[in-house]
Symmetry: C2
Subunit: 355 residues, 2 copies
Amino acid sequence: MTRSHTIAILPGDGIGPEVISCALEVLDAAETRYNFTTTRTEYAAGANHYLETGELFAEVQGQLRGADAILFGSMGDPRVTPGILERGFILEMRQRFQQAANVRPVRLYPGVPTPIAGLTPERCELVIVRENTEGAYVGQGSTVHAGTPNAVAMQESLNTRAGIERVVDFSFRLALGRRKKLTLCHKTNILVAAGQLWQEVVADVAKRYPEVETDYVHVDAMCFHLPLTPERFDVVVTDNLFGDIITDLGAVIQGGLGVATSANLNLDGTAPSMFEAIHGSAPDIAGKGWANPSGAILSLALMLGHLGEGEAAQAIEAATVEVLGSLPALAGADMGATTAELGTRIANIVRSGRA
Amino acid sequence: MTRSHTIAILPGDGIGPEVISCALEVLDAAETRYNFTTTRTEYAAGANHYLETGELFAEVQGQLRGADAILFGSMGDPRVTPGILERGFILEMRQRFQQAANVRPVRLYPGVPTPIAGLTPERCELVIVRENTEGAYVGQGSTVHAGTPNAVAMQESLNTRAGIERVVDFSFRLALGRRKKLTLCHKTNILVAAGQLWQEVVADVAKRYPEVETDYVHVDAMCFHLPLTPERFDVVVTDNLFGDIITDLGAVIQGGLGVATSANLNLDGTAPSMFEAIHGSAPDIAGKGWANPSGAILSLALMLGHLGEGEAAQAIEAATVEVLGSLPALAGADMGATTAELGTRIANIVRSGRA
Ligand SMILES: CC(C)[C@H](C(=O)O)[C@@H](O)C(=O)O
Ligand SMILES: CC(C)[C@H](C(=O)O)[C@@H](O)C(=O)O
């Protein structure tokens, strides 16, 4: 019997549809080669859809819930007030679908140029796990005496034992299957209450994983450890806001946002997980064929791995890395091929079974 | 009549005393050459003093208040619980002395190796101004149901119109004397209340500085703009926590914590400003002569500029840059000279008036 998966596709805005169309071509190739099928449904979501209909996540939530996984392009458009799509769609999905862990591999692939002098692929193979539902992302804050000289804005960060524990436990399990090292990244000397809770949970959960070594690094210090000594890290677990910041730094190290990818994992099976490249919608280059589809294709690989298609996932990753390593530039007019051509090139390698 | 300044010296812990002693040798040279005098008083502060006496900032506050400026080494020791000295001394000084602006120049000096491939000194000449008294640094947060599965930790960030305005106004003035560009760094799409207040204040104050162009960058995006396109920035203003993070990234770009320096400026004349290198106390290399005194000596230069000794400040900076550019390594056993030797070398150049 052929394995089958139901996938929701959200191409979104800007370069999203271009890179997702490449990912789907690669998915076709993987299905042929690795003997599984997918039922795909595409959903309109993002800036255009919002401007036409006013619809955000709430309206599509019911339809998405039945999918085994969600493949996401990118969202954002200068015509929409900043924050609307981010909070109304992306954060709403993370919340409603309890996508508790935002997993971002930081790998320097062979042949991909890194801006960090002297960094080699062997030294850069880590995963950052970001808590994805709470912390400073819980609300919009509040302001008293707005518009007066006495205005005071309060922004709260809420951290629950349960929310931290599920992502910390996930991170330990991840580390167990890797180099067995977990680093907590926080700012415990200043954010005392939240910091203590994070440290407490890590210490408690560590007892269940005696083989995993634990370590701690302040978020400011992470800014030099991550680029200069990434070999120090295996799995890094951190809160929502710090994760937002340090994963972008991670992406820089591995050659840029175009290459980086992420999984927004639901850990309790109540809703689908979502997979997306880290790059934004890049409206300035949309439609030009200048976008690098690698981020989206690597997120497809993450998704297939998650769905149990490990062989296909590995083949897609290997094919992408092979093509990435051959490019004269990672994006733009000098990439040496269009977005679509790169998609086809990667799909062909996957189909050939050569990777 | 010779100009005279009263300076409080706080060598602190670890490598602090070593690098401060170099800075004082350079100060001697500058006084001779540039015809001013200082009255210096050294205060015991830091881990040893705390372990012996239990004293933190409160006990020395009265004595420090009369100084024209404070020269600070570094603080921290593994024997003291993390957070005690940071909150009890460093943050307490920033608060009590209303050192509202933490100013951190990010300059790549010629000859200093940067880990960022292809970065050149002309492209890296910016200043980060960090709000230094509020935001997420206001308190310790609070926890309900601590120690139970229902524990929730709340961490608040308080942002006042007055607190933001003074540091934003300072940043505009700074930009006016430079390349006339001010960039706000925040996360306005998520931290809505605080973000709006910051944006509002920048927009309002901008009206008083029509020649200064303003720009905005999210803190996560800053992680790639800062290393990859630092030429985009002239003055960057940001909140306390984001400033803590991105200034460490700035230090990496300019060659490491050993080179970076900072001013904690009191802007209303009610208390002295404080000047310090960005590096920590590095207890692992203390006493070995492996510490690079440049950060401390450059903070002396910042201090002298602040006290109106512009010529001396420039000479010290130039001498430090000259010596920095000649080192085989920026710190450690391979630095090619001891901490003290480097101090003497820089002092000699300053005394000779050659720089
Ligand atoms: C778009 C935005 C809401 C989002 C975030 O802040 O989490 C993005 O920066 C990310 O990292 O996925
Ligand atoms: C020591 C610590 C309290 C401090 C901070 O967080 O502000 C340090 O990291 C800094 O940047 O000066």
